[in-house]
């Protein structure tokens, strides 16, 4: 089958869950004999300036994938920042909502090319929902559109253009049931065109706990948190809960943060929190192997790859109970606990560290959940027998 994946950013270097999912899914489909084109912009990723192109427009190869890069339209960043605030807060006027979509990442060159050439593809996959490339691109070939929305419960999801997108797409691939429920709540029933496929995860990962402790000079038990550090990922709240938790002090627990971004550390927990920033994949795997518990504080996740990786290392996890996706994962996997407030955080940490056998059983159960549901062969089977059938 000949497929196109349309994404605002693409490459091994592009930071972000949707970017990683796009590349990994395309590569695995190509391995199974499908012919894949990637249609994307010349921009590096979400965190870098949207008016500075890092790549030349043109055709290149990424392993078996053909990557077609197109110049992106200029973005008025000040105007966009103002509109972004209005949309995030859910108080945007219809005019502001329309202007927000038009001012997002768009590429007229890409749209022209897709309009002329979509006939050569059997299906066109758009990921994620909130970019001009998806909102406008999918209008050019709605009957062939497969949408991987990576949907979150946020102000953007309530834009009228996003509602139209969900009704326009021929097929929709959700990660988990909670994401499909959210879509149904926001946009109404989407009968006969959506599947819960999940996201493929590399399993049986290898890590060396002793190497991590030696490299970074961290001894004793620690709680691990991976991902971007900012308010949207709820990192500041985690730091507050950690600093105020009596259980943390009682068990001599440290907190290790991996990932981009910066947050101010609470003074009462100085020396207990280790912000290591960006590390290599192997350092991250070593950290999973070394940690006592893994925590995912975000309230807005559509899947959480890092949670799956922690479970692949059989680590018990803590998640925020306000995130329906994460809570569903934990309940179905029996792989850890969820906290709803500071007292709950302290109590769940205390319970897991005071019951090491039960915590280890949670980790094992989580490992079984990931390997039986989200290993690549399982996910590719669902793609081929359900989504592409």
């Amino acid at each position: 089958m000949k497929l196109a994946f349309v994404a605002p950013f693409f490459g091994a270097h592009a930071a972000g869950g949707a970017e990683a999912e796009c590349r990994a899914t395309a590569l695995h489909l190509a391995e199974r004999g499908h012919e894949i084109d990637i249609l994307t912009t010349c921009l590096l990723d979400l965190q870098h300036d949207w008016n500075v192109e890092a790549f030349a427009a043109g055709v290149s190869a990424d392993g078996p994938l053909t990557v077609r890069r197109f110049r992106s339209d200029p973005v008025d960043t000040q105007r966009f920042a103002r509109l972004n605030l209005a949309v995030q807060s859910g108080r945007a006027t219809p005019e502001e909502a329309r202007a927000f979509t038009a001012d997002h990442i768009n590429s007229r060159d890409l749209y022209r090319w897709l309009a002329d050439h979509h006939v050569r593809y059997d299906r066109v996959v758009f990921i994620p929902y909130l970019f001009g490339t998806t909102l406008y691109g999918s209008r050019l070939c709605p009957e062939k559109t497969i949408l991987i929305p990576c949907l979150h419960d946020e102000g953007y999801a309530r834009l009228p253009t996003v509602r139209d997108l969900f009704h326009r797409a021929a097929r929709i691939v959700f990660h988990v049931e909670a994401e499909a429920r959210l879509a149904k709540t926001l946009y109404g029933p989407l009968p006969g065109k959506s599947w819960i496929v999940g996201e493929g995860v590399d399993t049986v990962l290898q890590g060396d706990a002793a190497r991590f402790r030696k490299t970074f000079g961290i001894g004793g038990p620690f709680l691990l948190c991976c991902g971007r550090k900012d308010a949207s990922k709820n990192t500041p709240e985690l730091l507050r809960y950690f600093a105020d938790s009596p259980a943390v002090r009682r068990h001599g627990l440290h907190l290790v943060l991996l990932g981009p971004g910066s947050v101010s550390l609470p003074p009462q927990a100085q020396g207990l929190i280790h912000d290591l920033g960006f590390v290599s994949h192997q350092d991250k795997f070593d950290a999973y192997a070394a940690c006592s518990l893994f925590v995912q504080p975000s309230r807005n996740e559509s899947f959480s790859l890092v949670l799956m990786e922690a479970w692949d290392f059989a680590r018990p996890v803590l998640v925020h109970a306000d995130c329906e996706v994460l809570r569903d994962h934990v309940l179905q996997a029996q792989g850890g606990l969820a906290y709803a407030h500071a007292a709950g955080f302290s109590a769940t940490v205390d319970w897991l560290l005071s019951h090491p056998d039960a915590a280890a059983a949670c980790g094992q159960s989580g490992q079984h959940y990931v390997r039986s549901r989200y290993a690549w062969p399982e996910v590719m089977h669902r793609w081929e027998t359900e989504v592409l059938a």
Binding site: F55, A247, A340, T348, A358
Partner: protein
């Protein structure tokens, strides 16, 4: 041996999040002044004074140097346990003692230096990547005159 089954996660989450105001696992009672009844205050202060006391050096120039502060230290000894502990540590450092904290501080410093080196290496790699991309862009613009695929 039968492996331990995972606990009933749903029930545990319910139970452990039931009380928003409780912070279980606290190692010691709250002894801040606001939380202590007036009647207990003298006993708590006496206990704090027994465990924390700024010691003037026994002899030598340090004792001579610190003697004018004697009255102030006595007042601090009487009232503020945290300050007393901190000043005690400073006194011990002044007397050349190698405190257990110093190893941890040196380790942390070493780790910071390692991380700084790693950040510099990665920034250099990123700059090289950006430069290469820019060169490719210039080359492609110069050779074909058309950058569209």
């Amino acid at each position: 041996m039968t492996p331990t089954p995972p606990p009933d996660v749903a029930a545990l989450i319910e139970e452990l999040n039931a009380d928003r105001n409780a912070l279980p696992g606290s190692p010691a009672p709250d002894t801040s002044r606001d939380a202590v009844a007036d009647d207990d205050l003298p006993a708590l202060l006496a206990a704090a004074n027994r465990s924390c006391h700024i010691r003037l050096p026994e002899k030598g120039w340090r004792r001579w140097l610190l003697r004018p502060l004697g009255g102030l230290l006595a007042q601090i000894n009487l009232h503020h346990a945290f300050t007393v502990r901190t000043l005690n540590r400073m006194m011990r450092l002044l007397e050349g003692e190698d405190l257990p904290e110093s190893a941890a501080l040196q380790q942390a410093q070493q780790r910071r230096l390692t991380l700084l080196r790693q950040i510099n290496e990665r920034l250099a790699a990123l700059e090289a990547l950006q430069l290469e991309a820019r060169l490719q862009k210039l080359e492609s613009a110069g050779t074909s005159g058309d950058t569209r695929p």
